[in-house]
Structures are given as structure tokens and as C-alpha cells.
Subunit: 425 residues, 4 copies
């Protein structure tokens, strides 16, 4: 049994806790943190969690829990991981690891120095379909991999902080590109070094600074290309699809919109259909078991089995760091209009398959090059702000969505200050 | 945590144990029985089960286990359930409950008399898609249900005993019709009494006595009709689909062949694709997580949660009995060529929703009418034998299939004796 | 070039004319008839047709036209065919051929006696998918056919007369079962005699006398079974699917709802989506080229090529007659609750493949048995009326639908008289 | 009726002639040209064509024909069009218009100067699904278009000349990218000027000089991005899919692999399944009516209707020229690794919707900039040769494929000379 501290009570904290407590699990969240004491208390009450707190340090140091799960906004990952490492706790951090490769590298070094177990919670690599497709690929069914496509698009995220590049580190790329990039990397082979990236991105629809739509290409050692498509402008639900093309075969995965469940209803049922579904009547495409289909169940199984067995999980902080370096290259490319090199601090392929005790499969000294993106992100935000300012005061609607409990959430931007807030009514 | 005795080490015992031990489960099979000591021992060793035995009574009476799971051939269900009831153990029995309604009724009465917890392991009602579709139906999205279709077809079962109607109780109907009937019943509403059934069935392809293909209709109180299609003659894998039609909507579920996972391979991978898949190259349609997609995970969650909570599970022995009465009517109809009444010993709809302590939601005295099918089954077998006898001695191949471990299994019939045997090479 | 008289200006007359004039066709409708002079005139004007009339006899005898296409309500087929035969014109009649086998037999004898070319306009056998699937079946890809399923369901027909069993000859079975039965017959082989039929049917939703939902089974010589599912109660559009199962293979055809065209629109476009589509926003499934997908294009190609070449078309009046005899058996079975024999006046399989000059492949004397269904239909209508009468006078809505031109059509029943009328507003 | 000269007797000439003579068409190919007299004669005999010749000039000047269809390899397009223009014939030219924008511009100017009717045979814009999706897009169902994706991938083309960049003008981009680019342009709006293009391409599998896999992005005025994916390395058949994303909706089209026709066969049928299909057994996905599904039928309807009516067809030489300029930019980008401007000789959006008499909707003087690609293509070929040369003499297999008539075709490269040849056995 694993005793877990959950940091964060938003959609991701909810999905994580639901998974950890799910079905006939022997694991328990015993402690929960939210910046809001009210939310922490309510979350704990609803899910039978003994302790709650709104103090991050206290949460992490709680002596009853052995593992800290970081399900917080991107700008808090680094501090939370550092505190967990200092407290000697195993730490599992949600995606993306950092807002930039520089942040990710600090986190990687922190857990390595402390010698604690660390896992990168990249759920979409763990969907049952992806795991089986990866196994077939490893068994040679695809031959040599030539190309992958990973697509994640929907009408936009649920929480206000996603829309604020200062807190999130960017837009659709940092939010969803991290999934797509790591899916491609798994199919192509983690032993293949990513060489360069090209990216187009734009703010096509929303009154925000960050990109709400982007397409990227990553080229790997050996010549394979990995393509990602991410968007907050998509209509029709959440589109989660992967394709793989090899010399001997092809794979198509659909995780969400066409999974063998189709429903037409003229009456509706006044309820929640699926994450980011649009509409309550007409043809709907529900998912049987969402946390399972999205990989949460198999992800925590691997993480906790690995923790118990003292081996590295399938997705480590090293992987999170590699993804962040690719994202950095994508943001540079968006601006330069050309391929940009992927600037990894080191590349030690021999270490990759070595079983690790409590840390990811990485060793030796790391000499990080300066990662240019934090400055760029700031610049981009500034540009955006300039563009977005319309003169008179007021709030601009970024996204309106219906919550599972029937209330309406509005994500709004204050035109004067640029601040992004949520209102739930 | 539940401590469980597993009776049976075939495909179903394997799937059950895999599910009970799966992911991060707190439940354990602590004791396993097979008629073959060798199989029992190997099964236990492979899955870390402490005790094994080839003595059914010993297995059931084992003091370390609280729950007995019956994963045995149909002809052993009744004895196993009786022994479990006598031993005061909770008992979970695989589908179909009995070979006939008369057998099922005996089993129902045995657990009721003993006051033990009893669950009917009808997995396909518990697939994540079915559970969500049932919830939408209950929420009114379909309006009034008019029709359901449930289809389960594949190239034929794995074990020899399925092909022998004396041991199994029939052919494709008793093997798979039980699933389809109960799926239809759940959508239409368990409070609706089944009134009459019509069935066509034939032995179209295999040299056996039982039907290898059948289509049935069940009419319910209120006018809804539930259609099933079962076959051991299907080519192309395992076809598991359900459809529901109501005044306000329609549902289509595909559990196995088209679930958003498509793979073309010219190379193959020398492995297992999916239950009853045909072929290793070309376009294949794997399932991400088979035990989950087939409902085993949610079934055991409900069963064990219900057992711990002292409530009735979603599927009870009463449900198993109702299904057997409908199957009996289908077999009668196959012979008479007309609608046959569904002869339930009682119908107490008021009792259906009442929470039960350790037994299914059923009460009062049961006065079973004579169930005519056992005799009919015998007759059918005799007829079949007459038809099948070709004169000279020898073995006729019923089914040849490749096992996950690469060996070849042949199911053969001795032309002289009619006996059905398996050979694995 | 073929010069054609079109009898009928409803949906079917429109589809037929659209097809005959479509693409780069060399054929022309030169003459059109409607009971309403106003409609005939407007139809002719809109499509550049030279002659129009509201006199059936004049229409058929028009000397400029060589071929008469009967696109009229079922109760007028017999007279129209008889007049065409007497006038020595080639005649193509829409499905079903007659309201009963007796009517169909009269029509068959009329064209045979007159020695005119006659074709049965069963479009769904001619869809490009069906034609290719039939070719593969003939090439042995399926092995021996064991089972077919054909499904046609939608929310109900467009014109008032369909809902009136006196004019149409029945309900969903006579309207759509004729398609399904002939599709099954083509896959199983037209040389296989249909032996018996079983049918369930009910009036589940609409205030009408005829069945609005039915399921039937037809058993053929050789053991194959053909299943049909027809409904006017379906929600979600028009569901047109076929399945075939053989000893060596399986086929699945979807002609309408899932053909590789998927569209989500939050805005709509104020237009026509597809025949019997429901709704204008959300996920929609349009068909690229409806008249082509529904078989009209290839049907008229075969008919007119056959007429020019002096050979029999793929679908003849003989086929129409066989279908009507099966439908008669289905209606008898609905009442008797058991298999009913298919009562063909004759069965001369040897004649089937013989090329015919101007008439279908059938010869010799026909001694029709009395076909019991006309009386039954009448009885059924009476029963229905009794059931439907609610006391006070007024109109009951049977179906409301939006027309392509934006107007609303209501099909209504006069509660006092039982008469069914249309109102367009 | 149109009287047509067909130049070319390969796959495309066959598909074109099949379409023009298809169904109940009033049009006829009256004259056919092939470089090989033997092929021309056989082609004419098989299809009832009166005249045949192996002299290109004679073919074009034939007085019985009014329209010349150019279905020849890319390197012959320019001469054939020039000769047709000089002869005052209407001319329809297959895709791509030229090997480069410079060639296309010459062709555009030739027909314009001669004042003859000219159509660009871009069939995939005319598939019934695309036409309907375009109509919905024009009706506003998608809102403002943000992104399109068009994918055409298969295991490689049929004829040797495709594989030779000197004759074809490039590899997969010039072969199939032309389709994808024009599909994107139609959805985004032909009034939107293409601004810049980015492209990745590589020779991943075949021993050739040209790219066998490429991904490109085209950015349009207004901000929409059009993505294409083309490959000769794909396994599993021919993948033809389009996606469109707009502010109000999304569209997904599948033209070939998943169109509602699924077949499993263990027996096969020894025949042709579909263009570029792989394999004869297992799960196959035939297309009902290939020439219709691929747009040929509606393309020739529009072309010949436009010619008769004296209006411009939907796809003109201007469109072909725009596509070639985008392809040129893609090839430049492949080398430069950055966005490249689309260098149109002129952009007169106001002219686009103006009805033209016999020429495409374009006017005014054209001042072509130098198009850099011909030189680049040559360079690329040289590079490739260097890479491909392995030393010893002999033939390298590029592609092996089974022909509809059962023979085997091998496309081979002479290692010494680099020449690409075909052998059919």
C-alpha cells in the first residue's frame, strides 16, 4: 500500500485521486493540499482523506505520507519538487515537468541529488492502447519507424492559469504538445536522440497572448519524424489520436472521440458526457471509463510498482526534461521560422536502460546550456499584451463551459491589467 | 481485502485471477483448484497463490478463504455452489448459472437457504461502455426502450467441454446467449417481466450436436423486444456489439473489433493479438486492455464492494435464474418453431430493488414449474449423434486454434463414441 | 438514349428523375405524370421536361416515350403496369412490386403476356458497395453463406400514403422489408428457394394501424438464414446497414450513417443534411452523393443497358414477386407467432439464369395459390382502428418533418375517420 | 455530347476513359494516343475507340475530336498543351499542371493566348464528399477556417516515370502534394493568397533520388494553415483523408480506407481489391465505386458542362499554376529549412469569380519571377545519385506490385546509369 500526499485539487488532482482510490486499489491519498483551505477541506471530506492543509511545506513534510504527487499549476512544480526532494519523499510530478528546460533540469538535479524516487506523470503514454501499440512496435510489427503523428485538440482548458503564459510557460504547446512529443518519442525509441524541431503556432481565436493552435515536427537521429498537432480552437469535443508509420506497418489510435461508443439522444440527460464534450443532445461519443482510457490507471500502477520494486518507472524526470528541451526548441522555431536544434544538456544513451534505484535512468555531470526560452516567453507575452489591449476597461470572455455539476464557469481577462480570472456561477 | 478461492484454471479462471490480482488491487486469490493437480500447481506457481488442490471439497472448505469463485465447466456449477453454500462461503459463479433453469433454481435456493452472499459473474453487463450506456438510459437519454440487439460471435470456444452439450447444456445459445439476454434485460429494465421467446438455431458448420449459430427474440412486458445473435461460425475475430433503440435515442457499442485501435502489419510479431483474433498479419484490431474491455474489472469491483458492504451486487443468482428460464424457452422454440412462454417460477417485481444482506433480491416461496429443457437437450444430443455418425472409426476436427504460447490446440470428436477431446501439440 | 415517362412526382420520382438526368447522362424524362396537374406542371418546368399530364392513361400512351417508370404509391402499381403492358411499353416499377404476392403475380403475368421489357426498381441491391460485395461473394471470398442481416430504420416515411395500410399494403415491412429481403436473397443466391419466414412486428410508437417496427427471419434452401430489421421508430437519421457471414468470411456495409464523412457544426447551415437526418447542429454524418450511395445510378444503368441489349436486368418482376411472397409469409407469421411457409406459385430454378428477351427469367404456367394477406391486412387495419379510437374528434400527429425547402410537413390522422393526410406549412 | 482525344493509356488514361464512357454517359473518347502503337491499338480495341495513333501531333489535330485530355507523364504536359492550344482545341490537363511553376505559367499563357477552354484535372477536389463538405463550408457551417489537413499516402506509384524526378519534377510532393494543396486551398478559400510554405521531406525507404515522404505547411492570407502529408512509404493500402477545422466546426473525410465497407476473407478471391490495396486475405476495405469515390465522375461532369456552357470549370489552369508555385516553395523550403515565400507572378483576386468564356478566371499581364526549382530538382537528383550509387552494376528493385490481371510488375533502377525501368512478368 502506498500512502500519498496529493498537491492540487483541480481537474488533475481529482482525476489522480479518483484513480488512486479507484476500483479495488490498495493505495490511499492520506493528505491533500490546496492553496485554498476551503477547497482542500471539501476535497478531503468528499474522498475520505484524513488530512488537509493549505500550507505547501506542511503538506509535503507530513510524516504519514511517503509519496508526494504534484498536481499543481506549472509555475509551482519546481518549488514543490524541491521541497519534496528535501523532505526525502518520493515525488511524482504532472506534465509538463517544467515551464522550460532550465526549470526541468533543476528539478531533475534536485531529485537526483536527494536520491529520491521520481516519476513523470505523462498519462497519455500509458493509455492501454498506447501500451499495447508500443509493445507491438517493440516486437517488430511496424519495422523501422518512419513517422508518428499525435494530435490533441479541444475547445480549451478548464482552469484560468492555463491561459496565462507567465504561470503555464506558454499555450497549447506547453499544455498538450508535451503529451504528443513524448508519445512520438516512445514509438520512435527513447534511445534515438531528438535533433531539431520546427513549429508553427498562432493565436487564432482567443484574446490571449499565448498560441491557441500549433503544429510541430521533431526530427530524430536515424531520420524518423514526429509530428504534433495541438489546439484550443477545436470544435466537437476532445480529439486525441495517434498514428504511427513504419516500413512494415501502420497504427491508428483513437482514444476519445471514436472508441466504439456512439449515442444519439433527442432528450439529453442533463449530465456530463465526457471531458471537453460539446453539447448534450444529438450524436454524442462518450468514453466508457475516462480515467482508464486516458492512461491514469496504468500510469499509477507503473509508478507505484516501480517505487515498491526500487526500479525506474517507464516515464522519468529525465523524460520530462527531454520533452521540455524539445518544447523550448519549438518556441524558438515559432519565432525564427526555421528548424531549431534540440539543446540537451547531455545525451548518454547507454544509461537509458540501466535500472535505477530511486531516480531516473540518468547519470554523470550535467552542464546545461543556457535555455533561451524563458526570455522569449516573456517577450511573446509582452507582444501579445500589446496586441490584445483594446483601450476601455472591462472583462473579455476567453472560454465559457458547463461544469459536471451544472454550474457555468467563465474564464475572463481583465483588459486593463491582462490578468486572467475564473468565475463560477 | 478479499481472500478468494479460485475454482478452475482455464481461460476464465485465468482472466478472473488476472483481474483480481490486477493493477494495484488489494484482493488476492489464496487458493486454487483444478481437476488436474498438475494444472493447479502450475497455475498457483505462476501467480503466487499459496494453496492449490485437485480436491473440490477441500478447495471450498479452505479456512483461509472467504469467497469461492466458480470458474468451472457448466456441469460442475451446481455442485460447487452447493458445497460453497454448505461451507458458509460467499460464492461468485460464472455464467451461465445453470445448464437449465431447474439447475439455476436449485442453486438460487441453496444460497438463499444458507444465507450466503452470492453473485452472478455476468461480465459483459459490466463493460465500462455498457455501464455508462445503462446510466444514460436510466437518465432518460433513450426515452422508452423499444429494442435491443446484442451480438456475440466468434470462430468457436477454446475448451472441449463447450462443444459437448451434455456438459455445457447446449451450444452457442447457452455459451453466449446468456450474455446477450442479460444485456438486453438490463437496458429494457429488470423490472420488466420477460414474456415469451422465439429462437432459430442450427448446426451449420461443425460436426457437433449442438447449435453453432442462433438468433433469438425475447419479448418483455411493455412491448420491448430484445434480439440476440450468437455464433461459433463467425470469421474475422470476436464480434461483440450491442445496440439500443428508444423513443428518444439510439446507442451503438462495439466492445472488441472496432474500438479505435487499428494496426496493419506486413511483418507480424509472432504473438497473441486478442481473444479469438484470426491471423497475425494484415489489418488487425487489437483491444487495449482486454480484461477491462470485457467487464471483468468492474464486475469484481462491484462484487467485492457489495460483499464488503453487505448489499446485493448488480448481478445476482436471481438474474442468472431469469436468464436460464429465457434460454430454456429459446431451446423449446427452436424445436416448436413458435414463440414459447418464459416460465419463471415466480415474479416479484417489488422485491427487485430491495437491498439484500447476503443474498440476491428475492424472497418468498418458489414453486418451480417443470422445466422441460434437460430432456430436450438429451433428445437433441441423440438426434445429433445419429446425424453425425458416418460409419468408420476415427477423429473429426471441430476446431484448430493457435494458443498464445505458440502451440496448436485441436478439439476433436471421436466418431465412434461421440466423445469430444482436446489435443495440444 | 432512352426516352422516359415518369409516373409520380414525389420523393421517389424526384430521385429517379435526378438520376436519369444526372451527370452526363444521355437519357431523358420526356413526359411526367402526377395526379395533381399543378405538381406535374411545376415538376416538368423545374426539370426541363417537355410534356406533363394528370391523366395516367395519356401519360403511359404518350408516343414519344419508350419506357414507363412507375414511381407511384403502391396501390397504383398494378394498374400502371397493366396499362404500360397493354401499350407495349417497357416498364420499370418501383419497390415493392405489389402490395401482396397476388398483385405482384398479376403484374408479372401482364408483362409476360405482353412480351414487354420489365424491371424491378430495387435500388438498394445496386448500391456500389453492395454490387462489389456481391461480386466478392460470387468469387468465393465468403465461402458458403450462412447468414445475412439487412437493416433499414429511420424516423418514418415522408408521404401520407405510406402510413395508410390500405394504400401501401402494410407498414415498415412492406415499405423497407422489401429492400432487406432482396439484399439477403442476392447474397444467399437467387437459385436458393426461400422456404419459410418468421416475423415479429408491432406498433410501438405511432398512432397508426400498421407495424412501425419489425424483425424477420427468412430461411432458404441449403440452410442460410436472412434477417431483416425495419423500423419507423429509429432516432438519429437513417440507418442502412448490411452484414454477411459465410464459412470463409464476413462483410459489413454501412450505406448512410458512417461512410467516412463526419462533420461537427455549432453554427449549422440552415440546409438539408441527408435523407431523414435529424438535426442541423452537433455531429452530423452527411453522405457525399446520395442518389449514388442509394444505388439509383447503377440501377438505371443496368435497367437501360439491359433494355438496349435485350437482356434481363439484374432485378426483374420475378424477383419482385418472390419478395412479395416472402412479405406475405411475414405478415402471416406476425399473426400466427410461428414460421410460415413461403408460398411461391412456382419455382423453376433452371430458368433463372436464362437470358430473357424483354421479360424476366421466368416461364411456364403459374398457378397461384390464394394469398391470404390482403384479408389479413384489412383485419389488421380494423383492429388498429379499434385500438386507435380515442373518442373525441380531431387530428393526431403521426410525423412532423422539415422539408429541404424549409417548410414543415405534418402527417396527420383524422381520429373520426382514420384517414391520413398531409399538411405543408 | 463531347468528342474527346485521350492522350495516354496508363492507369490515369484508363480511369479517365472508364469515367467518360461510364454509366449512361453521352460522351465518347473517339481517338487515343500512346507513345507505343501497340498499346494505343489495344486500348482502342478494348474500349471501342475508333482512332488510335502513336503520333502526338496527329492525335491532337484529329478533326473529329473537340477536346484533348492530357493523361501523360508530367514531362510531356507542356508540349501537349501547347499543341492543343495551337490546334484551337479545348484542353484538359491532368495534375500536376507543370513540373514547376515556370512550366505551368507557360501553359497558362498558351491557352490564354489561344483563347481555348482549359481545365485542370484535379480529381480529389471533386470527390462527392469534398464537394458536399465545401458546400457546407461555404454555407458557414465551419465558421472561419483555421486549419486543414490533407493526407495521401500509399506504398508508391505504379509507373516507372513517377520515380524519376527528371521526368516527374520531384517525388511524393509533386505526385500527391498537388492534390493536398489544392484541397486545402478550396476549403480555406481561393480568394485567400498563399503567403509562405514550409516543408520537410526525405528519402526514407526507396533507392531513389526524390523524396518518398514529406510533410508541408502552407500559410494563407488571413492566418489559416493548410497541412499536407504525402508518402510512398505507407503500408496498409491507400490512405486518403482530409480534415478541416474552423471556429464553428470540424470535418473529417475518409475517401478510401474506412468508407463503410469492411470485409474479412480467409479464402480470398484472386482478384483486385482496390487501388494500392495490400493483400488479398484478412480484413480488407474495398471501395464501392472507385472512379466515383476518387472524384473522376464529378470532375468530368463539371469540365464538360463548363465547356458546353462557356463558363470556367471549378478547377482551371490558374489553379494548377498556383499549386505549382506552392510546390516550388516547398522544394525550396526542404533545402533551406525555413519558411519560403510563395512567389506568384500576379494575384488578382477580383478576377477570380468572374465567369470566363473559354479560359480560366485570370486576366492581365503576367510577369513571372524566376522560379528557382528546376535547377534545384536537378541538384537534388545529382545528390541522390551520389548517395544511391553502391559500386557494382545491376538492378535495384524500387517497387514490386501485383497487377489486376495477375501479372507482376517490377520497377527497377539500373545502378550504373540511374535509369528507372519497368518489367512486367
Amino acid at each position: 500500500m502506498a500512502k500519498i500526499t496529493m498537491l492540487g485539487t483541480g481537474l488533475i488532482g481529482t482525476f489522480y485521486t479518483q484513480t488512486l482510490h479507484g476500483l479495488r486499489s490498495r493505495d490511499r491519498v492520506v493528505n491533500v493540499y490546496s492553496r485554498s483551505a476551503e477547497r482542500a477541506k471539501a476535497f478531503a471530506a468528499e474522498r475520505g482523506i484524513l488530512h488537509w492543509t493549505s500550507d505547501l511545506r506542511d503538506a509535503i513534510q507530513n510524516s504519514e505520507s511517503e509519496i508526494v504527487v504534484v498536481g499543481l499549476p506549472n509555475d509551482v512544480h519546481k518549488d514543490a519538487v524541491r521541497l519534496a526532494a528535501e523532505a526525502g519523499k518520493a515525488v511524482l510530478c504532472t506534465k509538463p515537468l517544467g515551464r522550460t528546460a532550465a526549470e526541468a533540469l533543476e528539478m531533475l538535479e534536485a531529485v537526483e541529488k536527494a536520491g529520491v524516487f521520481a516519476g513523470y506523470l505523462e498519462d497519455l503514454v500509458y493509455t492501454p492502447k498506447t501500451l499495447k501499440a508500443l509493445a507491438s512496435t517493440k516486437n517488430g510489427a511496424m519495422g523501422r519507424i518512419l513517422w508518428t503523428r499525435s494530435r490533441e485538440t479541444h475547445p480549451g482548458p478548464h482552469s484560468a492559469w492555463f491561459w496565462d503564459p507567465v504561470r503555464s510557460g506558454g499555450g497549447a504547446i506547453v499544455d498538450m504538445g508535451c503529451h504528443c512529443i513524448e508519445i512520438g518519442r516512445n514509438f520512435i525509441g527513447k534511445d534515438k536522440r531528438p535533433l531539431r524541431a520546427f513549429c508553427w503556432g498562432a493565436t487564432q481565436v482567443h484574446p490571449i497572448e499565448a498560441e491557441d493552435h500549433a503544429i510541430g515536427l521533431v526530427e530524430y537521429e536515424g531520420g524518423a519524424v514526429s509530428q504534433f498537432e495541438v489546439s484550443w480552437t477545436f470544435r466537437g469535443g476532445m480529439d486525441l489520436r495517434d498514428e504511427v508509420s513504419g516500413t512494415e506497418g501502420t497504427i491508428r489510435l483513437d482514444h476519445f472521440l471514436r472508441t466504439g461508443f456512439e449515442m444519439f439522444t433527442a432528450a439529453g440527460e442533463g449530465g456530463y458526457v465526457a471531458e471537453k464534450a460539446e453539447g448534450q443532445i444529438g450524436w454524442l461519443f462518450p468514453v466508457g471509463d475516462e480515467v482508464h482510457a486516458l492512461g491514469y490507471v496504468h500510469m499509477f500502477q507503473d509508478m507505484l510498482d516501480a517505487w515498491e520494486a526500487g526500479r525506474a518507472p517507464m516515464e522519468t524526470f529525465w523524460d520530462g526534461y527531454v520533452v521540455n528541451t524539445i518544447i523550448d526548441a519549438c518556441y524558438r522555431s515559432m519565432k525564427s521560422g526555421r528548424w531549431e536544434p534540440v539543446e540537451l544538456a547531455e545525451w548518454q544513451v547507454g544509461k537509458l536502460s540501466e535500472p535505477a534505484k530511486t531516480s531516473p535512468p540518468r547519470a554523470g555531470k550535467v552542464q546545461p546550456k543556457a535555455s533561451g526560452r524563458p526570455q522569449e516567453a516573456k517577450t511573446s507575452a509582452n507582444q501579445g499584451k500589446g496586441r490584445g489591449k483594446a483601450g476601455k476597461a472591462g472583462l473579455i470572455a476567453i472560454k465559457v463551459e458547463r461544469l459536471p455539476d451544472g454550474r457555468t464557469k467563465r474564464i475572463l481577462k481583465d483588459k486593463a491589467t491582462g490578468r486572467i480570472i475564473e468565475k463560477i456561477e
